[in-house]
Amino acid sequence: MPLLTQHIQDENDQYSLVASLDNVRNLSTILKAIHFREHATCFATKNGIKVTVENAKCVQANAFIQAGIFQEFTVQEESVTFRINLTVLLDCLSIFGSNPMPGTLTALRMCYQGYGYPLMLFLEEGGVVTVCKINTQEPEETLDFDFCSTNVINKIILQSEGLREAFSELDMTSEVLQITMSPNKPYFRLSTFGNAGSSHLDYPKDSDLMEAFHCNQTQVNRYKISLLKPSTKALVLSCKVSIRTDNRGFLSLQYMIRNEDGQICFVEYYCCPDEEVPESES
C-alpha cells in the first residue's frame, strides 16, 4: 500500500465517522430544509446520517442523507450520535458562499472522533482550504412519534408545486391549519381561521397534481400553524410530498428532494394535532 493511502487509512481508524462529499451543497441544502431551530441531533449508521430538529415537543423534522450520497462514508461503531449547533454548521458548510459561481464546487471531508470530541470539517474550493472545529454537545433524547404505516388512515401524494403556493400564502393570523382528508367531498381541504375570516382550499382528487389518493375515512385535524410553517423550507426544495395521518390524527409530511446530482433524499416532518375538534364544528 502506498505510503499516503496507508497514512489516510490510519487516520480514518481513529475516527468513528468519516464522510466525504465532492459537492457540499448536497448536504447543506438538505440541512437547510430542517433549519428552524438552532440545535440538531445527528445519528450516523452505516446506512447514512439522520439529522433531527424538534420544537415544543410537538414537531419533529428529520433529514436523511443516505451513505450513497457521499463519495466516502465509514462508521466504525454501530451508531454514532451527537448534538450540534445547526446554525453554525450551516455557516461553516457554506463558508465559500451560498451561491457559488457555476462550475466551482466545494468539497467536504467530515470527521468525528467520538463522544466529547468536536466535529471536524475540511472544506476546499479552488485550492483554498477551510478547517472548522465545531464543538459537539451531549445528545438529547429525541421524541418518538410512533408513527407506524399500519396505523395510517389517509394518505395523499401531491406534486410539491401544488402545495407551495398554499403554504407560502398561509394566513398566519390563524392559529391553526385545519386539514381535512376524506374519501368523499371535499377530499383534501386546507382551512385557516384568521382575523380576516376563514379560508378553505380544496384539491379535487382527480387533479393533475394528485399523484396518489388513498383516503379511507374522513378525518379533520388541526395543527398549530406556527409549527407547520417551517416545513415550507423543505417544501420549496422538494418535488413531491406525501401527506399522511394516522388513527391518532398525527401528521407526517414526507418531502422528496432531488439534489444537484439528481440523487433523491428525504426530509420528514411529524406534527401532533392541536386539539380535539368540537363536535358542533365538524
Binding site: D91, I95, F96, G97, V128, V129, T130, C132, I134
Partner: protein, 280 residues
C-alpha cells in the same frame, strides 16, 4: 475658491462612477480634496469610532476633459470639502449613458457641489439633470488632520487572494464571531481565523506570493514561515471587502503585528489605501 470640471468620455464616466460607489460603501462621510492635478477621497475616523482610515487618490487628467480650480490661496492651492459619499454616488447613478457630466463648486444659499448630467433623449433636444450636494468647506487649520497617512513599515507584506472568495468567507465568519485574526507570512500563506466557545474556523490561502522586499528591510531576516498576526473587528474588514466590487489590478496586504493591517489596492489608475487598526 473655484472648482469646475467636466467628463465627456463614457469610459471615464463609468470609471468615476465605480470609484464613487466604492467610496460610498467604504465611508459614510468623507473628505474630498481637490488640488490642481489630483482628487483625493479621505476618511480619517477618530479612534473612538474604530480608527479606520482611507486614502483614495486619482489623477484628474485621467478622468476629466476640463479641470479648473483655484484653491483658498496661491500658496495653498487646494480645496477640502466634506460630503456624504452616498449623495455623490446617487447623483452619478443618473449619469449612466450620459453625454457629459459637469461638477462645479457653487453657493446656492449654502455651499454645494453641483453635478449636472447631460442626458441623451430621443428627440434632438438634450435634457440636463442637476444635483446639488450639500458640502462643508473645511477650514485651513483642520487640513493637518487630513494629510496622506504614513505607511508604517510592515512585518509581512503579501498579495491578497481573490477578493470575492475572501468576502464570502468573512461574511460567514461574521455570523459566528465579532473578532477575526488575520495572519500571514513571507511564504505566501495567509490565514483568516475566528475562535468562539462553540467553534474554531480557519481559512488557509496558499501561494499568494510576497512582493519583493525593499532593500535595507529589517524583515529580510525574518523566518519565512513565521506568521505576523493582527486581531481585527470583523465588521471593519467586511466593510472594506464589500466595497470592492471590481477585482483590483494589484491588491496588497501589509501586516504590522498587533498594530494594524494596511490594504494597498490599485484599480487601473486609482489607488486606495485602507488602514484598519488592531483591537487592543
Amino acid at each position: 475658491m473655484k472648482f469646475r470640471a467636466k467628463i465627456v468620455d463614457a469610459a471615464c464616466l463609468n470609471h468615476f462612477t465605480r470609484v464613487s460607489n466604492m467610496i460610498a460603501k467604504l465611508a459614510k462621510t468623507c473628505t474630498l480634496r481637490i488640488s490642481p492635478d489630483k482628487l483625493n477621497f479621505i476618511l480619517s475616523d477618530k479612534l473612538a469610532n474604530g480608527g479606520v482610515s482611507m486614502w483614495c487618490e486619482l489623477e484628474q487628467e485621467n478622468f476629466f476633459s476640463e479641470f479648473q480650480m483655484e484653491g483658498v490661496s496661491a500658496e495653498n492651492n487646494e480645496i477640502y470639502l466634506e460630503l456624504t459619499s452616498e449623495n455623490l454616488s446617487r447623483a452619478l447613478k443618473t449619469a449612466q449613458n450620459a453625454r457629459a457630466l459637469k461638477i462645479k463648486l457653487t453657493n446656492k444659499h449654502f455651499p454645494c457641489l453641483t453635478v449636472s448630467v447631460e442626458l441623451l433623449s430621443v428627440s434632438s433636444s438634450s435634457r440636463i439633470v442637476t444635483h446639488d450636494i450639500p458640502i462643508k468647506v473645511i477650514p485651513r487649520k483642520l487640513w493637518k488632520d487630513l494629510q496622506e497617512p504614513v505607511v508604517p513599515h510592515p512585518d509581512v507584506s503579501i498579495y491578497l487572494p481573490v477578493l470575492k472568495t475572501m468576502k464570502s468567507v468573512v461574511e460567514k465568519m461574521r455570523n459566528i464571531s465579532n473578532h477575526l485574526v488575520i495572519e500571514a507570512n513571507l511564504n505566501g500563506d495567509l490565514n483568516l481565523k475566528i475562535e468562539t466557545e462553540l467553534v474554531c474556523v480557519t481559512t488557509h490561502f496558499k501561494d499568494l506570493g510576497n512582493p519583493p522586499l525593499a532593500s535595507e528591510n529589517a524583515s529580510q531576516d525574518r523566518n519565512p514561515e513565521q506568521m505576523a498576526e493582527v486581531h481585527l473587528d470583523i465588521r471593519k474588514l467586511l466593510q472594506f471587502l464589500v466595497g470592492q466590487q471590481v477585482n483590483p489590478t494589484k491588491a496588497l496586504c501589509n501586516i504590522v503585528s498587533n498594530k494594524m493591517v494596511h490594504f494597498d489596492l490599485l484599480h487601473e489608475d486609482v489607488s486606495l489605501q485602507y488602514f484598519i487598526p488592531a483591537l487592543s
